[in-house]
């Protein structure tokens, strides 16, 4: 059998076998349209569903990132304020938990602000409204975040910032802080304190922890105290709360306002003294400058006079020489004129005079 025969046979077979295979998409018009429609509908629906799912995912992500509460920061002094923040650490909610808190937040809007900036504004308002104008004017700072590492970092930063603010304003207080997770279900013992004494969650956990430390203390003893008063109690009772709250090591938990006021005056006086010293030095410098200037002036004057004198001298000398030179020149000219037979006017006059004299003699 030849190669060509094999190949031709195969070709023929394939043609024959495929001749009756119809295009599956070529049917009656109606059916084809239906298929196309179905095809398009399925595709369109799938696309719509996919788009919806994507939009949902994007929407959920956006919502999650911007509107879902990720952390809380609470300030308890006597006003109790809680700020809720999103994943980006931007404030999404500001809540006052008592009347004093409401007073603070009345004309403050920290929504959208960074947590640190918002905190600065809140503390500034607390100072201005006089809530930190006492001994032991501590701020109980509570940071809630399910990521305790982030909570700790935020706590550290806020503590440092707020303490600096307090020190700059000579507030007899410090920051005492605690961290917790963002709880969906509040423990019953805390809930009980909150409801019975109308306290914030943050203050309630603080008080609850103190009570655990000192069995002699009763809830009714401290529930209604301000943070500054609780601080005094802790200070006087020598209760060690270092394991329940954090504060700056060198800071006393109960500072004396009188001392802070005196420190303020002292600092102010020192500032004035320093200022005066600077002014004095400035005046001294200027005086020295003046003296130096006076001396220079005199010297300059002297130099000027000397120079003027020299100039006068030089002018005189010059004039003298000039005159001398001029005189020499005139004599030379006269001599020249005689030699060249040019009758000098004087000579003429002399001649005339002589002539006249002779005439007179002859008569």
């Amino acid at each position: 059998m030849r190669r060509k025969q094999i190949e031709d046979s195969l070709k023929k077979s394939i043609i024959e076998m495929t001749d009756n295979i119809n295009n599956p998409l070529v049917k009656e018009n109606k059916e084809m349209k239906k298929m196309k429609m179905n095809f398009n509908f399925i595709k369109a629906t799938s696309l719509a569903v996919a788009t919806l799912v994507i939009a949902l995912i994007v929407g959920i992500s956006y919502y999650d990132k911007n509107y879902v509460e990720y952390a809380k920061v609470s300030f308890d002094v006597n006003p109790s304020i809680t700020l809720s923040a999103n994943k980006e650490n931007k404030i999404i909610k500001q809540i006052s938990l008592n009347d004093d808190g409401e007073k603070i937040l009345e004309d403050i809007d920290v929504i959208g602000m960074d947590i640190e900036k918002a905190s600065e504004i809140i503390v500034d308002r607390l100072i201005k409204e006089g809530y930190l104008n006492t001994d032991g004017a501590n701020i109980l700072l509570t940071v809630e975040n399910n990521n305790l590492k982030l909570a700790s970092e935020a706590e550290e930063k806020l503590m440092s910032n707020i303490n600096e603010q307090l020190n700059n304003n000579y507030i007899a207080g410090t920051v005492i802080s605690q961290i917790d997770t963002v709880r969906k279900n509040i423990p019953n013992d805390i809930k009980k304190i909150m409801e019975e004494y109308q306290l914030s969650y943050s203050k309630s956990i603080f008080i609850n922890n103190i009570l655990k430390k000192n069995v002699e203390l009763k809830i009714e003893d401290i529930a209604n105290l301000k943070i500054s008063e609780i601080s005094k109690l802790i200070n006087d009772s020598k209760i060690d709360i270092s394991d329940i709250v954090k504060s700056q090591k060198e800071e006393s938990l109960y500072k004396n306002k009188e001392l802070m006021d005196a420190k303020k005056i002292k600092d102010k006086a020192e500032e004035l003294k320093n200022k005066a010293e600077v002014e004095l030095q400035k005046a001294k410098d200027e005086l020295i400058n003046d003296i130096n200037n006076q001396s220079a002036l005199e010297q300059a004057q002297k130099a000027k006079e000397q120079a003027e004198s020299k100039v006068t001298e030089a002018i005189e000398k010059y004039q003298e020489i000039e005159q001398e030179q001029n005189k020499d020149t005139t004599e030379n000219q006269e001599q020249n004129q005689n030699e060249n037979g040019i009758v000098n006017k004087e000579e003429i006059q002399k001649g005339i005079d002589n002539s006249n004299n002779s005439d007179n003699k002859g008569r």
Partner: protein, 175 residues
Amino acid sequence: MSVFNNNIIDDRLMEKIKNKDIKAIEILFNNSKKMIFSIALSITKSKSISEDITQDVIIKIIENIDKYQYNDKPLSWIYTLTKNHSLNILKKEKRNTDMENINENNLLKRGNDPIDNLILSTALSILTSEEREIVLLHNSGLKHKEIAIIYDKPLSTILSKYNRAIVKMKNYLEK
């Protein structure tokens, strides 16, 4: 005369198919059905199944046309679709590809030249799967060069395999 013209199946045609051009789909069908059938037959060794596969693959091409990436190798893409679908069908059908079970009458109509039947059966039974594909593809109208592109192998390799296959068949048929 060439039964296949790959100059027609190119990226321009695929673009038209993407735009749901019915005429383009028709052109695709007419110019690729032999190729598709040949691949299916070389794998399944069944005419009827290969007919179904040919129609299935045309539909698959239309359904998946958006996945086609323009690279001037539409035949390679069609080959891949066809091979994968054929293997899936084969798995499903669980056909026995043993030589003894090939029924010549399954391949060609009654009344056809028995020699043609014999030659075709021989091709399907004694050649390796790769040889079968190459032999049938070439005799469906593809040039050796086109087959080389599909397989991504040197032309010399394809020529060599084809020649070896034909010699094998020739030797078998001459016995």
